[in-house]
């Protein structure tokens, strides 16, 4: 097992390195000279040249990458030239919002998706199954910005039950905080559950056809035990992957929802950075999010091994 | 019965072949130093249980799996040393038939095209000529070319697919065919048809066969000589009648005893077979059968038994052969 963890860890190192290189390249190679962006109206050739020297932009590309990487490895991701905040400060300030949103969304998504999937798989082909599969399919075609608008229209504009936009920290006003989070979290969850449900349902249906389920039935086990112990665990492997990928995707996917509902999270930080061409923030946040994604995937791999003894023992 | 044991120039000469491959961070010792000769016009049966390396050996002969060491001489030429175009040319003379006939046929191509494929690969450009040869070979294996050629594999049963596979392997007039468990996936009534067909084709096309199977009776039905394999090594080689009448290696004896006989008067002997084959990842030292052998002693674990002649034409790799 330890060997397994070590090997997986070693395998993600090159990926992380490539991620950093790509992040750097995106920010460096694309048109738009940083010095011009910063100086704006005051750009004179002398000013630009001076600033370029200050920023190290006159150095060769590989040198800039290495020195940037060196700083990153020491935890220095740079400082916004707009707000003066360091990347880490900016991220630390906003990450709780994004995390709360992500976790609430994933939780609601699982809360809807898992029971529905189990119920559908147990009665595959029934009217309930067909209805829920159909709904999930329709929901899969519903982009989150559409759901968001629909929810805002319904609950904020028409019914006035919930606020459309705004945020207070949980620590200050827990209840108000939750009220602000209901619609955005629901928006994301409504996009999440169909995937969760479809994956788990089809895996469960496949598992229920297995010989070992026939054997469990012929052993006279209770239907609930067959469903929850014999079928659910082997079927949950893909679900773990999907949930992991979802969380990884949500890391970046909260962007639209945060923009629409005006939640001050990572997504909005990024959109803001793009609008204002705040290159340092953009580069730093993209790097952090991408590394976060890689690490979440690594954790999913580990979870996989916990769930499936065959992988743990290197039989797969 | 003609004795075809050792002739000066065998068609196939496998010399001390070793095949190993990685599985995770372990090495599977699939074939560990096997030497075999197959004479022109002969059928050599290769028997063994699953995981004994018999299929790997078959594929290594055809260079579908590269050997770690050892040589495979076909008609005097060393296949293991061949690469690229030379090897591709040689492949027209040696063919392969698989266990799963349905998986052996591309589901998205028509039977006519599948059987014509070897002709295209070997560079026969004349379409009429190809069609003539495809029709001839399909009729030879007992299928009606006009009914079959335009259909796709899933319209056929396993037995018929195996006929198509045999047709494909014959269309280039090869000299040598490796049959890798060609009837294991078929039902009893179909199995007999295919075995008869193979025998007929062998006579008609003057083939030499390496016939791999796990069923001793099936192997005996078609083979002139039989080789018994256990865990990557040969235990015993000999003329089929002689080998089955008087097995010299304890493993051959065990295999013979284990076969269920369709006769109620033959009370099945309480199985003498104990234990299970060890893993080819960590084979036992010395004789690989010693962990299950009732005759095993100190010497068996210390010293690898070499194949030696027990009776005329019959070789066994055992320190304590059966009398």
């Amino acid at each position: 097992m330890l060997n397994f963890v070590a090997r997986r860890l070693l395998a993600i190192l090159p990926v992380l390195l490539a991620v950093s290189l790509l992040t750097f390249l995106i920010a460096s190679l694309l048109p738009g000279d940083l010095a011009f962006v910063i100086l704006g109206d005051q750009a004179t050739p002398e000013n630009v040249a001076a600033l370029r020297r200050d920023l190290g932009l006159d150095q060769p590309l590989w040198w800039r990458y290495l020195s940037w990487l060196g700083h990153v490895l020491q935890g220095d991701l740079g400082r916004s030239f707009r707000t003066g905040q360091t990347v880490l400060q900016a991220v630390a300030e906003r990450i709780p919002v994004s995390l709360q949103l992500m976790l609430m969304a994933e939780f609601i998504g699982l809360l809807i998706g898992v029971p529905v999937a189990i119920a559908c798989a147990a009665r595959a082909g029934s009217a309930f199954d067909r209805f829920m599969t159909g709904s999930a399919f329709a929901m899969l075609s519903m982009p989150s910005f559409l759901t968001a608008i629909l929810l805002i229209y319904l609950f904020a504009v028409e019914l006035h039950w919930l606020p459309a936009t705004g945020y207070v920290p949980f620590t200050e006003e827990p209840l108000a905080n939750l009220r602000f989070f209901v619609l955005p979290a629901l928006t994301l969850a409504l996009a999440e559950w169909p995937g969760i449900m479809r994956v788990l349902r089809s895996d469960m249906i496949a598992t229920l056809q297995e010989d070992y389920i026939a054997l469990a039935k012929s052993k006279g086990l209770k239907p609930s035990r067959i469903l929850f112990v014999h079928a659910l665990k082997p079927s949950s492997l893909t679900l773990v992957t999907v949930t992991g990928i979802n969380i990884g995707r949500l890391l970046g996917g909260t962007l639209i929802v945060e923009s629409i509902f005006a939640l001050p999270g990572i997504g909005r930080l990024l959109v803001g950075a793009i609008y204002t061409r705040d290159l340092v923030i953009l580069q730093g946040v993209v790097l952090l999010v991408a590394c976060g994604f890689v690490i979440v995937n690594f954790i999913v791999d580990m979870l996989y091994a916990v769930l499936d003894p065959r992988i743990r023992h290197g039989h797969a | 019965m003609m004795q075809l044991a050792v002739r000066p120039e065998p068609l196939l000469n496998v010399d001390n072949l070793v095949v190993e491959y990685g599985l995770g961070n372990k090495t599977v010792h699939a074939v560990s130093g096997v030497s075999l000769k197959v004479a022109r016009g002969e059928t050599l049966g290769l028997v063994g249980e699953s995981g004994c390396g018999k299929s790997t050996l078959g594929r290594a002969v055809l260079q579908l799996r590269r050997a770690k060491s050892g040589r495979v001489l076909f008609d005097g030429e060393d296949l293991t040393a061949m690469e690229g175009e030379a090897l591709r040319k040689m492949r027209r003379r040696v063919q392969l038939i698989f266990q799963d006939p349905i998986a052996s046929l591309n589901p998205r191509r028509r039977i006519g095209d599948i059987v014509a494929e070897p002709l295209i690969i070997s560079g026969i450009k004349d379409a009429a000529e190809r069609k003539r040869r495809v029709h001839a070979v399909l009729s030879a294996v007992g299928l009606d070319p006009d009914l079959v050629a335009n259909r796709v594999p899933h319209e056929f049963s396993g037995g018929q697919c195996q006929r198509i596979c045999i047709a494909r392997s014959l269309v280039l007039n090869p000299e040598f065919i490796v049959c890798d468990e060609p009837v294991s996936a078929l039902d009893v009534s179909i199995r007999a048809q295919i075995l008869n067909l193979l025998e007929e084709m062998k006579a008609r096309f003057g083939l030499t066969l390496l016939f791999i199977a796990h069923d001793l009776a099936v192997v005996k039905a078609v083979s002139d000589r039989v080789a018994v394999m256990y865990l990557g090594r040969l235990c015993e080689v000999g003329p089929s009648e002689q080998l089955f009448a008087k097995p010299a290696h304890p493993y051959t004896g065990l295999l013979l005893q284990a076969i269920p006989v369709p006769d109620p008067d033959v009370r099945p002997a309480e199985s003498v077979a104990t234990g299970e084959p060890p893993s080819p990842i960590a084979p036992p030292s010395g004789c690989r059968f010693r962990t299950r052998c009732p005759r095993a002693d100190q010497r068996c674990s210390a010293e690898i038994p070499e194949l030696r002649e027990i009776a005329p034409g019959q070789f066994a790799a055992c320190h304590h052969p059966l009398a």
Partner: protein, 330 residues
């Protein structure tokens, strides 16, 4: 004559397929006394596995089952699900063909044994564990105590089939259905497993149905043999009688088509020409008639019913039964 433990009365199974209804089992009658062994022999697609699934009530959801399966005085077809559940695993156990797929890969062997025992017997966990260890030892598994904590993939195929047998035996069933229990195993392991089944059957005095495609497997081990073809039982007899004097041309042809060790190499095998009929398109006459060398015009017109031969207990379905003098390969 002891009481009948199992009677299968006029059981038919139909499966809907895209090509039409598939008649998997076509009105089969069979019976089995307590402590006896019945062998059901047939090629793939002959309906033998569907028949066993019908007895176990494990048919696919879409399948239509008619007829009665009387087990120990109750009709399994009409039994309430809860009562059926209490019967399965306790009085009625099964061993499937492929030990690689019939054990749950993510549960330990111990869990899979203990849960069966605790479902049906009033035992606490330590007692159930103790019983599990005894069972594993009884089916010939070395170091049974360590095995409990292991997962199926850590065992070889033969070991897994032993474990599956231990699970089946765990509540002392009255009937064990072994559905091709050795087909997926190597020949030396096959012999071990068949011996184990026979030994445990004698010891526990349970009835057993062995389903197989290999006449050799039933020859020495079954009291009675039923031969199935195209969903029907075409011949049924005490084992000795069947092998001595088979009446049905299919049985004869099936036996003749098996390569024998006694025969010299390169002897052509008496093969059955053609292949089994398409089960979605039932034939009017005898389903073996198109492949049968004895078939006459009547065979293509009417279906022969199972009828008795001179020997008591020997039934066959044929208009032109074989007489001894005509046997091939005899």
């Amino acid at each position: 004559m002891s009481a009948l433990l199992l009677t299968i009365e006029d059981v038919a199974v139909e499966l809907p397929t895209p090509r039409g209804n598939l008649r998997a089992v076509d009105h089969v009658d069979l019976s089995l006394e307590a402590g006896r062994t019945l062998g059901i022999v047939g090629e793939s697609g002959c309906g033998k596995t569907m028949l066993s699934r019908a007895v176990l009530q494990l048919l696919p959801k879409k399948a239509k089952l008619t007829g009665r399966v009387m087990f120990d005085g109750q009709d399994l077809v009409r039994l309430a699900p809860e009562r059926l559940r209490r019967l399965r695993g306790r009085d009625l156990a099964v061993v499937f063909q492929d030990p690689m797929t019939s054990l749950n890969p993510v549960l330990t062997i111990g869990t899979q044994l203990v849960e069966t025992i605790q479902e049906h017997l009033e035992l606490d966990t330590p007692a159930a564990r103790k019983r599990s260890i005894e069972l594993l030892a009884a089916v010939g598994i070395p170091a049974p105590e360590q095995r409990l904590a292991q997962y199926p993939h850590q065992c070889s195929g033969g070991m897994r089939q032993r474990i599956a047998i231990a699970i089946a035996l765990s509540c002392e069933p009255k009937l064990l259905i072994a559905d091709e229990p050795t087909t997926a195993l190597d020949v030396t392991i096959q012999a071990q497993i068949l011996d184990l089944l026979a030994r445990e059957q004698r010891r526990r005095h349970m009835a057993m149905i062995i389903i197989t495609h290999d006449l050799g497997v039933v020859a020495g081990r079954a009291d009675e043999v039923a031969v199935m073809y195209a969903g029907r039982v075409v011949e049924r007899a005490p084992t000795q009688a069947l092998f001595r004097r088979m009446h049905m041309p299919y049985t004869e042809a099936l036996l003749a088509a098996i390569p024998k060790l006694e025969t010299a190499p390169h002897t052509p095998l008496p093969a059955i020409s053609g292949r089994p009929p398409d089960p979605t398109r039932p034939l009017r006459g005898c389903s073996f008639a198109p492949r049968c060398r004895y078939a006459g015009p009547r065979c293509h017109e009417a279906k022969p019913e199972l009828k008795g031969a001179e020997m008591p207990g020997h039934l066959y379905a044929c208009f032109h039964p074989i007489r001894m003098t005509e046997r091939i390969g005899a």
